[in-house]
């Protein structure tokens, strides 16, 4: 190989390694934030309704804090190389989606859409060939929310909140119907979607228990 060619190639490869290091730094930063969000959100299971909104505010401010990371990544990643590097931060991003969607559900009872989450994390349309939120990562985050909600359904009852499981049940059923519309390959997303039915089953059981206990207190309207 000509010396010039050798040098050219070497330069390209060195640039890539350096790039990888710089992305890794951002990802470490991202990880710290997501760890904090997860640890905070873990408290929803034993926080009484009246103090929950303060807890959610804490998480919201960390989500906003993630915007500096996405910005950092957008500045580092070269044009069109989004898919080359995304695996490096994919796990952190899925966790951030989880946090964002869960917070939104607990605040408003709504599903935060992909665009909404993407905006919250500070992603911009013009970065989409460098940093963006893919459908897969978004869906992974949503599935994690369902996993968490089945746990929340149980713990709400322990905390004396008997309506929560029924609301969760309706929300999760809708989501499950949504997921059923997808033609998935045998990949992680498929495997995780497959596990959703157990969450639904668990939630159903809580609804069943709660409904029949309510029997004593609520007047029954005969079903038609």
């Amino acid at each position: 190989m000509e010396a010039a060619d050798l040098d050219q190639i070497n330069t390209l490869l060195d640039t890539d390694s350096e790039l990888r290091e710089r992305i890794k730094d951002q990802v470490n930063e991202f990880d710290k934030k997501t760890r904090l969000m997860v640890a905070t959100l873990n408290k929803i299971h034993f926080t009484p309704p009246d103090t929950i909104s303060a807890l959610l505010d804490t998480v919201k401010s960390v989500i906003v804090g993630c915007q500096s990371v996405t910005k950092g990544l957008a500045e580092i990643v070269p044009p069109n190389q989004f898919w080359r590097w995304k695996d490096m931060w994919s796990n952190s991003l899925k966790t951030a989606v989880f946090a964002s969607v869960l917070v939104e559900y607990l605040s408003s009872g709504q599903l935060a859409g992909l665009q909404q989450v993407s905006d919250q994390l500070g992603m911009r349309e013009e970065w989409k060939d460098r940093v963006s939120l893919t459908v897969e990562d978004y869906l992974h985050g949503v599935i994690s929310v369902v996993n968490e909600l089945s746990r929340l359904a149980v713990n709400s009852v322990t905390l004396g909140n008997f309506d929560q499981p029924i609301k969760i049940s309706h929300f999760v059923k809708e989501l499950f119907a949504g997921f059923s519309m997808l033609n998935l390959k045998n990949d992680t997303l498929r495997r995780r979607f497959d596990s959703l039915k157990y969450d639904m089953k668990k939630i159903e059981e809580v609804v069943y228990d709660v409904s029949l206990r309510k029997l004593a207190t609520v007047p029954i309207v005969p079903s038609t």
């Binding site: 997808l182 089953k201 059981e205």
Partner: protein, 257 residues
């Protein structure tokens, strides 16, 4: 060696080259077709799950399942169309030559077809029905269906039935359906067991069937445990749950979240 020999050797090898190239080309075509068939079949399976789950308050189970099955068959017509075009590729002794390329897609197709058939009839699709589905209007098979592909395709059905029964739990009548599926998968497992001696891959798939069955059994168990606390017939319990749960959802209860 005479130079005429040289020519002969060359001529012979030219023949070999054509034969080998033809084989490889046909093999490639079959691999590609098999990938398409696999994809269509997988999509059909998703479609069937979706149709069953979406439900429709105006239909009872039998109507709902029959409608889903019909739509499934429709989608599988595309696969049958592909097999029709493959007929000349698999004629005579060719089928067995390309069996390894054909099997994966074929088994996936049988899985999808048997799922639709189960929804419509509640039984395993017979061998002859599968063979008929890949035959032309005169009943001439596009190729001979092997017992092995038939059984291996059916074996995969149990996994789909497991999904069907567990995710259908919250449907009205879902609990009863789970009991039915449990019994059905048990009989599948027993039927298949006899054939594992002859078909090695089936033995591996039986393990998957066993796992699926245990998951269904756990589901049915949970139903039994919970309803045993109350002295009311299961259908009435279902109605109560449905009522209470719908009362709690008067168009969004976000306010007190």
């Amino acid at each position: 060696m005479a130079s005429s020999d040289q020519g002969q050797i060359r001529l012979a090898f030219q023949g070999f080259r054509d034969e080998i190239d033809a084989y490889n080309d046909r093999r490639e075509r079959l691999i590609k077709a098999s990938r398409d068939i696999t994809n269509l079949s997988k999509k059909t399976i998703f479609l069937l799950h979706r149709l069953v789950l979406e439900g429709d308050a105006s239909l009872d189970d039998k109507q709902l399942f029959t409608r889903a099955a019909k739509k499934g068959y429709e989608k599988l017509h595309q696969v049958q169309g592909i097999y029709a075009t493959l007929k000349p590729e698999l004629e005579g002794d060719r089928f067995w030559r390309y069996e390894r390329q054909v099997s994966p897609g074929l088994q996936e197709y049988i899985e999808a077809l048997s799922f639709a058939y189960y929804l419509e009839h509640g039984v395993l699709i017979p061998y002859n029905e599968v063979q008929k589905s890949i035959s032309d209007a005169e009943g001439e098979p596009y190729f001979h269906l092997t017992v092995s592909d038939y059984l291996l395709g059916l074996s995969d059905l149990t996994g789909e039935l497991m999904r069907f029964s567990i995710s259908g739990l919250s449907r009205k009548g879902g609990r009863r359906k789970a009991l039915e599926v449990c019994a059905f998968v048990r009989s599948c497992k027993a039927d298949f067991e006899r054939f594992t001696e002859h078909i090695r891959d089936l033995r591996k798939k039986q393990n998957v069937t066993n796992n699926s069955l245990e998951k269904i059994e756990d589901t049915v168990y949970a139903i039994a445990v919970r309803s045993s606390e109350y002295d009311l017939p299961p259908e009435m319990l279902d109605d109560i749950v449905a009522t209470v749960s719908s009362q709690s959802n008067p168009g969004g209860g976000e306010d007190d979240l």
